[in-house]
Amino acid sequence: MDDFGQVRKEAARILSEKKVDVVLGFKSGTIPLKAQPAFITSAKDANTLILDGFCQNNLAVFLHDLPKDKRIGFICRGCESRAVRALAIEHQVKRENLYLIGVPCSGILDWKKIQDEVEGPITSAVDNGKEIILEIHGEKQTLKRNAFLVDSCRTCTGIEPVGTDVIIGEVHLLDLDDDELPPTWAEEFEKHSPEERYQLFTEETDRCIRCYACREACPMCYCAECFVDHIMPRWSESMVTRGGTQAWHLIRAFHQTGRCVECGACERACPMDIKMTYMTDKLNADMKKKYGFEVGADDEKQPPFATITLDDKNRFVS
């Protein structure tokens, strides 16, 4: 993470040279294991920028709120750069107003898992890219990083930032010794029978409290009126019933087909620890298999549901 000093320098440079109005990144959180999104407007504040495994949001989500004519410097990891590409294809951001600084990523850590692993209050936490160093009751405890990566990062295939103006730092794939890590929830899901899969899906959605943190944390969910807020017709009850919540999860996942950048920000935002990426992973895999489409692979290809070709006439046989 020493390269990050270079990133701070670059951020300070583009601000002082007035190439951008604001730089989007992360800064230290108010409690251990957390980080806050940072909106840096002056070069002297650039030294508050950090990047580590506790930076658990996909910052592309803030591109929607910032005015479209603002020039934005954006320190982005792989998934965030894919989100920018996908948003540009959908005309939600103006690529020429963005200055993307690609950075390497060591994967995001599951802070709840870290808390559950140790006994006692964590008074400080440091992620140096190789280990997690915690302080509990004045004593240091070190944890191996890989065991605490979130599922989406373990299965990440797009760690290299794409379409950025510059990449600062060396990007390498995560060094995961697959044998010692249990399979991810999504990998396990596929192996079950249809009855069991429905049961698992229901168990996960039953915990949902409809806070919509998943939707708000997702950079690709930007509809001015979400389908759950429609009254006529009413697709999903706003009550916490099985029907309403199943409809919410399944349709939100479906609306992400060929658009989801597989960052996992939805699962990390959820206060009830609900699994969701298994659905979008499957839908994206289908898009790759059926239409050869990968999110963020290039700057122009439209998502499969936004386009048709005459090849389709031979595709769907009853």
């Binding site: 249809p194 009855e195 069991e196 899969r197 429905y198 049961q199 899906f201 039953d206 915990r207 409290i209 389908f227 017709p233 697709w235 009550m239 916490v240 019933t241 099985r242 029907g243 309403g244 919540t245 199943q246 409809a247 399944l250 349709i251 996942a253 479906f254 087909t257 659905m279 499957k282 839908l283 289908d286 898009m287 059926k290 239409y291 499969p304 549901f305 048709i308 005459l310 389709d312 006439k313 595709r315 769907f316 009853s318």
Partner: protein, 146 residues
């Protein structure tokens, strides 16, 4: 199952060119099958299908024209990708594949719809009533049970 399966048929208004077929679908459809006629299969959103299963359908059938025969030229292809993927998605989440069927027909064919419906109906009757995604008037999931 002993009772007749509840089936929803989403039918494109143009796919049955023969007026005999269209009349049959509108007036002589067996009672356990409900017809939802749409101007084009491109109008069918996956939300309709989800709604049908949630309200207790045992099976959903979507009937429309072949890709190159669409009255609106390419409209039906727009929804085709979505509906096809939606079916795979519901199957991934546990729905039995036999419950969601597509019938894409050439307008020159006659008598197809009656055959398809009767086969579909018989298949579903042999299966148990659908319990998946059937959540009409579902209970409130309270995060605490009182």
């Amino acid at each position: 199952m002993r009772r007749n399966p509840r089936i929803i048929l989403f039918q494109c208004q143009f796919c049955l060119a023969s007026s005999a077929d269209q009349d049959w679908v509108e007036q002589h459809l067996p009672g356990h099958i409900k017809l939802v006629k749409v101007p084009c299969s491109g109008r069918i959103s996956p939300l309709f299908i989800m709604n049908a299963f949630q309200k207790g359908a045992d099976g959903v059938m979507v009937s429309g024209c072949l890709p190159e025969k669409c009255h609106y030229i390419t409209s039906n292809m727009g929804a085709r990708r979505q509906l096809d993927e939606f079916r795979d998605f519901l199957i991934f989440l546990g729905l039995e594949p036999e419950r969601f069927k597509f019938v894409w027909m050439n307008i020159s064919e006659r008598g197809v719809i009656q055959k398809e419906i009767s086969v579909f109906s018989a298949e579903l009757k042999a299966m148990k009533p659908n319990t998946k995604f059937n959540t009409l008037k579902g209970e409130i999931i309270e995060q605490y049970h009182g």
